[in-house]
Amino acid sequence: MSTPSLPPERIVYQEHVPGARYASLILRRGFALRLTDADGTANAAVLLYNPHNLLERYNAPDTLKGQHTARLTAGHMLYSDMGRVMLSITADSLDWHDPIGGISDADAVRGTYGQARYQERLNDFHRSGRELFLIELAKWGLGRADLLPNVNFFSKVQADEAGNLRYRPEHSHAGARVDLRAEMDTLIILQTAPHPMAPGPEYAPGAVDLTVYRAEPVAAEDPCLVSHPENARAYANTAAYHSQE
């Protein structure tokens, strides 16, 4: 599936996030975020919170069982734990983003890639997904209790018939992109450490480009809304949440 080209006048913000770095932003309703895999090796790990009530957050189990899926792609919505839709995946040039692999911690990074401290490597030292999430979460008053299963954009984890999980290397490519439309104001916490199942031995996480743009109005027959009756109900709950604005 393709992603549309963006007219420059709709773009409001752009940021380049190198590998093993972080970003956070509040994506307001009516805006969308395009993630682009800059060099084909990115893993964009993402957590979502409601900035007006940080206790409301992206819920992986509800998202997966509501849409009977273990992968995320265009037509899917990312649900909160309050029965609402936070973001819609409106376009995607890949067919699979991973919602079950989780993140690496410092022990796992050391085990896969070896020790590489700041003392020796300066800005190229090894960071884990857990460290990067905790650093960025802390800036919003969030911490370990708020670390939940995330989405790993540009990564693929596939199960066989027996449930064995396999990471698929070389799934993404340079220029791969996915568009996320905010259906409610959403705090996005993003980090670009390697996927925890990525093979070593070289620690070389890829960069992600963020592009925030004004979204088109949501049509009644929007593909995300009509793809599952559950999505229409989640969207109705979100509309009710906005009804007094």
Binding site: L55, N59, A60, P61, D62, L64, K65, G66, H68, T69, A70, R71, Y79, D81, M82, G83, R84, W96, I100, G101, G102, D105, D107, A108, R144, A145, D146, L147, L148, P149, Q158, A159, D160, E161, A162, G163, N164, L165, P196, M197, E230, R233, A234, A236, N237
Partner: protein, 213 residues
């Protein structure tokens, strides 16, 4: 399927408690102790969370770390239940059901709306059980401490195409799963009150919790 029976005798147990359908159970399990959850009448969902008893806000059960580190999406005998810090919390030592789900999550008033119908919000649900059990306890835990849980006795297969489906249960009357605590843990269980799901035959039934020293 990995069916393993336990050598333990309920007559030697430290405690035996029946949890009626739709009710929560909060209990402590010391390192080395064994907990058996018995599906007394079959195909009942045991929605379960674990916390490190010494640091419940800082370390709890992690579904994604558990399935990734064992390389398989399902839980059964031999599964190591890992924490958000990557540490072993419990090990499943016996299982006469064969497969348990940890990706499907617990029901909530709000998720019932999305899954079934907007007017299902008033129905009782597992997250309400988690919230009231925590609110009435003194562990200092609340909504932000509720992560993805285990659904013992539930069968939620993944497909190679990336699908996720809800299948008929593999469980039956008297089937059980047994686990040994590898650290002191707090166990928070909701005996699922879900009335919209054919997995429990629309008839929630009791569970038994048996603990050995």
């Amino acid at each position: 399927m990995n069916l393993v029976e336990s050598p333990l005798d309920p007559c030697d147990a430290l405690s035996r408690v029946t949890v009626p359908a739709g009710e929560p159970w909060l209990g402590e399990l010391r390192r080395g102790q064994t907990l058996r959850i018995v599906d007394l009448e079959g195909n009942q969902a045991a929605d379960t969370l674990f916390y490190n008893l010494d640091n419940p806000r800082g370390e709890r059960y992690s579904a994604v770390d558990t399935v990734r580190e064992q390389g398989n999406a399902y839980l059964s005998t031999g599964s190591c239940l890992r924490s958000t810090a990557g540490r072993p919390m419990l090990t499943i030592t016996a299982d006469t059901c064969g497969r348990h789900d940890t990706l499907g999550g617990a029901c909530a008033a709000e998720s019932n709306q999305v899954r079934y119908a907007l007017d299902k919000k008033p129905m009782h649900n597992c997250r309400d059980n988690f919230l009231i059990a925590l609110a009435e306890s003194d562990y200092g835990l609340g909504k932000r401490d509720i992560g993805p849980n285990i659904n013992f006795f539930m069968n939620v297969p993944l497909t190679p195409e990336g699908g996720l489906s809800f299948q008929d249960g593999l469980s039956g009357p008297g089937k059980y799963v047994e686990m040994r605590a590898e650290m002191d843990v707090l166990v928070l269980l909701s005996n699922c009150p879900q009335l919209n799901n054919p997995c429990s035959d629309y008839n929630p039934t009791p569970l038994e919790m048996i603990v050995w020293k």
